[in-house]
């Protein structure tokens, strides 16, 4: 009902929206920023690959260990004047009696000889040679634990000098040592690369501080505290780090995914079984991918924090 707003307001009501620019207070020098982002990307890429490789080794080792520790082997050596077939049957019987054993399988003479082929060649007549015979013993698992020392003692008692039990303990411990060493090296390399990233950022921040001395001075004069200025630098470098880290981690992810895809391709090929036997599944678990992403994030956080600390020290 009231008269419409015919009188124009004295003040222009709407201010130009384009004012909202909020440009970073620390100017970004294009070429230096790009160089730093590239360095961070490369370092992140290397660290991420390293972490991915360590993760593959660790998970493959775990796979092998899981498979191998489900089995023990009884070896029956032929001796002069001994009936090897009878010895094998006796050993199988002993193993079957023992608690916690799910099953046994004695490798036949030809199977045992076949196992030696890769080393001795296939044209050889091994009939004359005393080839040891193997019995694989599957363990029932955690529910009914097998008493391997007891079984070993009974084998030694019944077939002294001829039968021995191999629970792969030595091999397993070596495998686990190797896997741990590999993972340790991986962690060490990742740490080194992160330190290198930190150093690169320190130098870049010092350069940016020197190049922006005038800006820092003006910021001080208009009432910006050291902390505020350090935060501005941190924000700028964190963004750079995020960009570099994303590119590096992305490239590493792509490479790992490609490797996994190629591995799957090979496994489908005729030679696949051997490759799988040699390298394990070459599965890259979600943990592998996650650790790559995590390294990208850590690299950007390191970048931000290091630049902030550098500025604080510089201003103090």
């Amino acid at each position: 009902m009231s008269a419409g707003p015919e009188r124009a307001p004295a003040e222009p009501a709407a201010l130009p929206q384009s004012l909202r620019r909020n440009a970073p207070l620390v100017p970004t020098d294009g070429s230096a920023s790009r160089a730093l982002a590239a360095v961070i990307a490369i370092l992140t890429f290397l660290a991420a690959l390293c972490a991915g490789a360590a993760e593959i080794v660790a998970s493959s080792a775990a796979q092998w260990q899981g498979a191998v520790s489900q089995e023990v082997t009884i070896q029956v050596r032929p001796g002069p004047g001994r009936d090897t077939e009878a010895d094998v049957a006796r050993a199988v019987a002993l193993a079957k009696e023992a608690p916690g054993i799910a099953g046994t399988r004695a490798l036949s003479k030809t199977e045992s000889e076949h196992l030696l082929e890769p080393w001795l060649g296939s044209g050889l007549d091994l009939g004359e040679l005393p080839v040891p015979r193997l019995i694989t013993v599957r363990l029932a698992g955690a529910g009914t634990p097998a008493d391997l020392p007891a079984l070993r003692a009974r084998l030694a008692e019944a077939l002294p000098g001829a039968a021995s039990l191999d629970d792969h303990a030595l091999w397993l411990s070596r495998l686990s040592t190797m896997a741990h060493t590999f993972v340790g090296i991986g962690v060490g390399v990742v740490a080194l690369v992160l330190v290198a990233t930190g150093l690169a950022v320190t130098f870049a921040t010092r350069g940016a501080m020197a190049g922006n001395r005038e800006v820092v001075e003006v910021l001080h004069f208009v009432g910006a505290g050291d902390d505020y200025i350090a935060r501005e630098f941190q924000r700028r470098f964190f963004r750079l780090g995020l960009r570099g880290g994303a590119v590096g981690a992305g490239a590493a992810l792509a490479l790992l995914a490609l490797a996994a895809w190629l591995a799957r391709l090979w496994r489908a090929s005729p030679a696949g079984d051997e490759i799988e036997a040699l390298f394990g599944g070459f599965e890259i678990s979600w943990r592998g991918y996650a650790s790559v992403v995590l390294i990208g994030v850590i690299a950007s956080v390191v970048t931000g924090v290091v630049s902030r600390l550098t500025v604080r020290r510089f201003l103090a």
Partner: protein, 232 residues
């Protein structure tokens, strides 16, 4: 050091110098035995020939240079061993117009003027109207999106003045604030300073411009032969 006679009791002065001497490096003293006080709400000029030390004196007040001897107090606080946090606090109570403007070239005129408010952590929407109004007042309404390198000398000067005023400081220091503008605009800017002074800000303007000083009945600090003389 002289006795504490000048400092005794409640010190109301915004700025107080006592026997201040200043030299750059190992050079001769640029300022010797300078003593003065700037009272709240006061208006004064600082004058003297080129090279007399006007900019140096302003830098001492801004704490961007430290005196070689003597005492400097700001807002009642002796500043020789001040922490960087207290320093930031003091600088927020001062506005300064530099002789060479010191605008940040990568920020627009608007952003430059808004800077003192932005570094206090205020949201952009909370001060936008204020900044735009002041920019219009100094005649930069059409130029607020422009980067400083594209401004004329006079426009830069007005932007620098607007930046010094925007946070309504308790003390305004201006180094040759009318050096690059025509007399008419110079008078307009002077009116701005007088208006600010009326609202409670203490003002110290360094200038050689006698015509400008004659427009205001104010104290004059005259620098010459390294010493400070107070007239009026």
């Amino acid at each position: 050091m002289s006795g504490g006679s000048l400092l005794s009791g409640a010190d109301e002065s915004v700025v107080r110098f006592e026997n201040v001497g200043m030299r750059y490096g190992v050079g001769p003293e640029v300022l010797s035995d300078v003593s003065f006080a700037i009272a709240p709400h006061s208006f004064q000029f600082l004058t003297g020939p080129s090279g007399a030390g006007k900019t140096t004196l302003l830098r001492l007040i801004l704490l961007s240079a430290r005196p070689s001897r003597g005492l400097v107090s700001l807002f009642g606080e002796e500043v020789s061993g001040i922490s960087s946090q207290r320093l930031t606090g003091l600088r927020r109570r001062m506005g300064v117009v530099f002789q060479d403007f010191r605008l940040l070239d990568h920020l627009t005129t608007y952003e430059n003027v808004a800077l003192p408010l932005r570094v206090q952590g205020r949201a952009e929407t909370s001060y936008r109207a204020e900044v735009v109004e002041l920019l219009r007042w100094v005649g930069l309404g059409e130029r607020m999106h422009v980067l400083p390198p594209l401004l004329s000398g006079g426009e830069k000067q007005r932007a620098a003045i607007a930046r010094a005023l925007i946070a309504r400081p308790e003390l305004l220091l201006a180094d040759e604030p009318t050096g690059n503008v025509d007399p008419q605009l110079g008078r307009r800017l002077l009116r701005l300073f007088i208006e600010l002074n009326r609202l409670g800000t203490s003002v110290l303007i360094a200038t050689h411009d006698h015509a400008l000083m004659d427009l205001v009945d104010a104290r004059r600090f005259v620098l010459g032969n390294n010493h400070l003389r107070i007239e009026g």
